[in-house]
């Protein structure tokens, strides 16, 4: 973490939030979603979803397939656009800006700059196939943040050590196992010094015996105080690591609360059914 300072400059250039924006987030809030609505054609994927993630918090979103949890996550860094509502990350409107009281889609550069501060881990890893693990990790720091190459390499090696893959630095993704690829992908996201990490079913594409090594890295991150939003089917992880659990179904947040409440005394019928189904597996 010795190089922290060089990246802070990047974050501090954020323009202040326009005062006219309704309910700007307090500083303690990392993510604020307000009445997000998202349609794919006729299908209502997000139906008036509101949620907040506090700084340093680990929020786990669970729910059946098609419940909208992945879409919600993707909207947070604008990989999907919401049709209405507001999403803020660290007090800043995501993907839009306010011009004369109206929301206008942000310029590409602004969106890119915002995304550079949000780590995203994909279900299918999406490592750059033509680059080694190390090259994958330094790519964005060098070409997006403009960090000197040797500095980026030093940092990348440190991150590879952290995820236990130092010896795989010069290996191409297709020679790595799924679990190793996902750990490299996490290191790649961390190399941007994100203030928020989003995990989209990061272990769903893995063979069962490889899930543990990825969850271990995620757990370690959570312990270090990283703000995380995690979409997962790993209920054990949710129960142990989450500060807050959100259960979604059919595009709405059905129930949310601390993990003990959601898992031990779920209030809602649908939550009970879902958890019952999972337990029956």
């Amino acid at each position: 973490m010795t190089q922290q300072q060089s990246y802070n400059g990047y974050q501090e250039q954020e323009p202040p939030l326009p005062s006219a924006v309704p309910q700007a987030t307090e500083n303690a809030e990392m993510v604020r979603v307000e009445q997000a609505v998202k349609r794919f054609g006729d299908l209502l994927v997000l139906n008036n979803v509101s949620m907040t993630v506090k700084r340093g918090q680990v929020v786990v979103i669970i729910g059946p397939s098609g419940s909208g949890k992945t879409t919600l996550l993707r909207c947070i860094n604008h990989l999907e656009k919401i049709d209405s509502g507001y999403i803020y990350v660290d007090g800043q409107l995501v993907g839009y800006r306010l011009v004369n009281g109206r929301l206008v889609e942000a310029r590409e550069a602004e969106i890119a700059k915002m995304r550079a501060q949000i780590g995203f881990v994909f279900q299918r890893f999406n490592l750059f196939a033509h680059m080694t693990a190390l090259e994958n990790i330094i790519e964005a720091p060098v070409h997006v943040l403009g960090i000197p190459r040797d500095e980026a390499i030093a940092q990348a090696m440190e991150l590879l050590r952290k995820v236990g893959l130092e010896e795989k630095a010069h290996v191409y993704p297709h020679k790595l196992s799924g679990g190793q690829q996902q750990r490299v992908a996490i290191a790649r996201a961390l190399a941007m010094r994100p203030k928020l990490m989003l995990f989209d079913e990061a272990t769903s594409a893995l063979d069962p015996e490889l899930v543990g090594e990825v969850l271990k890295v995620m757990r370690q991150l959570a312990e270090e105080g990283m703000t995380m939003v995690v979409v997962t089917h790993e209920m054990g992880f949710a129960r142990d690591v989450a500060d807050h659990v959100i259960f979604m179904d059919h595009g709405v947040i059905v129930e949310e609360g601390p993990p003990e409440q959601i898992f031990d005394t779920p209030q809602n019928e649908r939550t009970r059914n879902f958890l019952g189904l999972i337990a029956a597996d």
Binding site: A112, N126, E135, E139
Partner: protein, 263 residues
């Protein structure tokens, strides 16, 4: 009577060496222009904006749907009538027609190459804060190159031969030279043989060159018989063509300074 002496005389003559050079550089310039223009057309074609993609569809429809010879004549004979005073030289006229025509074909080839890259690659690049052009240059195109380069080689082979069309407006490339030199002495047949020898020489050399590139690009893949999965050999193509790669692979020499990144 077939005059062998004429063949021997002309095959080493400066006329044909000059003509072969004209054919070669015409092909190279038109191909390069076709690739560059084709890249932009491909990206426009893949845009989600109709006003960008539709004109490209029309463009490709026109240039692929009508003969190159007609396109050349339209530019050579037709344009000055349409715009009086606008008269291109033969070379300019040919280069424009050939580049525009080639761009139509290249745009489809490049589009196929880009489409072959997993969309997750672009998503990952965007999620890391990369902007469209940076992601294209650093992530998508190096991987698309694997798919683009073999048909690109074929296109260039075609281009070497298609330049013969330039002879109809009197350009002295190989075919034109054969006709012009052969007409007064009634030895067109002999000189066309000479031209054919040169065409075969050029295409054969290119063929060897293309194979050399492919061997050079793909040794690992060949040695190991590829890897299982959806995209075999992906690594070595993209990495070596554009100079990516880790030190032990000795990449980066082939395409000098293709990008500013890896060594």
């Amino acid at each position: 009577m077939f005059d062998w002496d004429a063949v021997w005389k002309f095959i080493v003559s400066p006329f044909f060496l000059q003509a072969a050079w004209t054919t070669l550089w015409l092909s190279v310039v038109a191909q390069l222009a076709g690739v560059v223009l084709g890249l932009f057309l491909a990206l426009m074609r893949m845009s989600r904006f109709k006003w960008l993609s539709f004109p490209v569809q029309v463009y490709v429809w026109f240039f692929r749907g009508s003969p190159l010879l007609v396109q050349v004549l339209l530019l050579w004979d037709g344009l000055p009538k349409l715009v009086p005073g606008l008269l291109f030289s033969q070379i300019t006229c040919i280069l424009i027609a050939f580049s525009l025509n080639e761009a139509a074909y290249m745009s489809e080839i490049i589009r196929a190459g880009i489409s072959s890259v997993d969309p997750g690659q672009m998503e990952a690049a965007r999620a890391l804060g990369m902007r469209y052009w940076l992601a294209m240059r650093r992530i998508i195109l190096p991987q698309a190159a694997r798919v683009i380069i073999p048909p690109l080689g074929n296109e260039f082979n075609n281009m070497l031969k298609t330049t013969s069309i330039a002879s109809v407006i009197g350009l002295e490339e190989l075919t034109g030279t054969a006709e012009i030199l052969g007409a007064p002495t009634f030895s067109i047949f002999e000189l066309l043989i000479v031209a054919t020898v040169y065409y075969l020489l050029l295409t054969t050399l290119w063929d060897y060159f293309q194979r050399w590139i492919e061997r050079r690009l793909d040794p690992e893949y060949a040695a190991k018989g590829g890897r299982p999965g959806r995209r075999p050999g992906q690594k070595s193509w993209a990495q070596r063509v554009l100079g990516f790669g880790n030190p032990p692979l000795e990449s980066g020499e082939l395409i000098a300074g293709g990008h500013g990144g890896a060594r």
